[in-house]
Symmetry: C2
Subunit: 309 residues, 2 copies
């Protein structure tokens, strides 16, 4: 069963890890959001690609949810002494990834190719694909003005109130040939429990992606559990946009292109409202604290997908 | 007494340090070779500027002669795992300098301004000036072809036989306004015991520099002691170019624009040959192992200069 996982950062990376424990590498493709990508100190930084790659390579820092486990911060400390910017916490080993990716892109490689080179060197088996090779920076329109995503997310710690999320360059961007082929060849598609607005929808917004997914069995995992996001600003953004902060609110956003929805056991009472959207519903323990949790949730997703057909 | 020191890497940095212990910061300007500069992994790396800056800031690594004392190599280790290039040994703290310089240049600052910002942040008092803001890469024509300087010097460890040293872009390059002003305002000029071919001459080759120096009291310190270079490939290059590997050979290269020459006590027998070039000669213990050695050699240079007038 060939599976494509749509992933943002931490939630997507954990579910990718779980799926990678069940599926042979050739049967798993992770299509990753690049809307958070930015250039900082001349380095092309792809936070979601890195989180997925580090997690699949077993290098992820489980305490922070970003960066490399056991990384040091000597360069950042020296940058601080130089009065350089330190709001984006670059670890020393993490820096190597950004330096090498930037160098590979400067050599003319596509982001897809640079990512593949990095994954291969780190022994990552499943294909990790940026959703597009184009730059499609997500912008956040807030009380403090229109901000770059990392400015909003990291520097300002998601504090400004969000009015709108904008994908500025999305009309001109196309999914890569590799992404199109993965969707076309998929037996099932899984939406990770990632932020709908800033992780999943920048992928869905690429030309043709919604149509391709609509033709395939597809399930989504709710990133909202008990009225809060498992991690990150999804709940805060939903509230500020006046949306229903619940699995139902998330399911509505995907209902036209998915067939099944997986949400946490604590939200079981909401199952009828999701079923009313025409979706197959399953509840499970969906918070991934351990490797076993990751694999267990992955299995639930595959079971839900298998039961659809 | 306002002094301008012409410097390459380690020898120039040590003498700059010695002079900085004697002269008030406003009276010392170090004009630094940028012919060794190169771009690596997208980073603008200026080995001589960094060696001078780190040494004046007290951060220099005295064991290696390059980089920051106590630096770590986590990023380089991670780059190695990514199959990236590791022949240029970038320390983590050192990386911060290259990242920040590259970012400042990308913001539109001149190299002179970026260097000034870095020096200020590190508490370096004397002015440290790149000889030019232009890129003037030194090329080494060897048995193995025409090589970038760092390729010859670091990657190939100076092993290929040198036929010629070429300053490719030098005709189009000008010394900066700051460098011109420093020479014009100088009461004396000192050539550090740096490599004549790849450290001092790329500065002298800039338009107008020889003429400005010729008008001022100027002394040079021999980088050749007892028939060998104190450090680096100067002696090997001189041999391969068929030149006299001795203080006399060095003095001949500068004789038309300097007035005094300082060489090591061990070469005292060669003093008449240097005097025959029309130069005032002084011998001293010129190998700088300790801080006291650095200051002592600096004092010898200032005394020699003072005695000229």
């Amino acid at each position: 069963m060939k599976i494509v996982l749509l992933a943002g950062g931490v939630g997507g990376a954990k579910l990718a890890f779980g799926l990678s424990k069940i599926l042979p590498p050739k049967d798993l493709t992770v299509v990753v959001n690049v809307g958070d990508d930015f250039t900082h100190l001349g380095l092309r930084i792809c936070p979601d690609l890195d989180t997925v790659t580090y997690t699949l390579a077993g290098l992820d820092n489980r305490e922070t949810g970003w960066g490399v486990a056991g990384d040091t911060f000597q360069a950042l400390g020296a940058l601080n002494k130089l009065d350089g910017p330190t709001w984006f916490r670059l670890g020393d080993r993490d820096l190597a990834t950004h330096l090498w990716r930037t160098a590979l892109l400067a050599q003319g490689l596509r982001l897809t190719e640079a990512t593949s080179r990095i994954c291969e060197a780190l022994g990552v088996g499943p294909a990790v694909l940026p959703a597009t090779d184009a730059a499609v920076p997500t912008r956040v329109v807030t009380d403090a003005g229109e901000l770059d995503f990392q400015d909003y997310f990291v520097r300002r710690r998601c504090e400004p109130r969000v009015h709108r999320i904008v994908f500025r360059a999305i009309e001109a961007a196309a999914p890569t040939a590799e992404v199109l082929a993965a969707f076309q060849g998929a037996d099932g598609i899984v939406f990770a429990p990632s932020n709908p607005f800033v992780s999943i929808e920048p992928v869905l917004a690429l030309a043709g992606v919604r149509e391709l997914i609509a033709r395939k069995p597809a399930v989504a995992v709710s990133p909202i559990v008990g009225g809060e996001a498992i991690k990150g600003p999804a709940a805060k953004i939903m509230r500020e946009l006046g949306l229903d902060v619940s699995p139902v609110g998330v399911a509505k956003r995907y209902a036209d292109i998915i067939d099944g929805f997986l949400m946490d056991d604590v939200d079981a009472a909401l199952a009828p409202a999701v079923q009313a959207l025409g979706l197959e519903v399953r509840t499970a323990q969906s918070i991934m604290r351990t490797d076993a949790d990751r694999e267990s949730l992955a299995r639930e997703c595959l079971d839900l997908l298998a039961g659809l057909t």
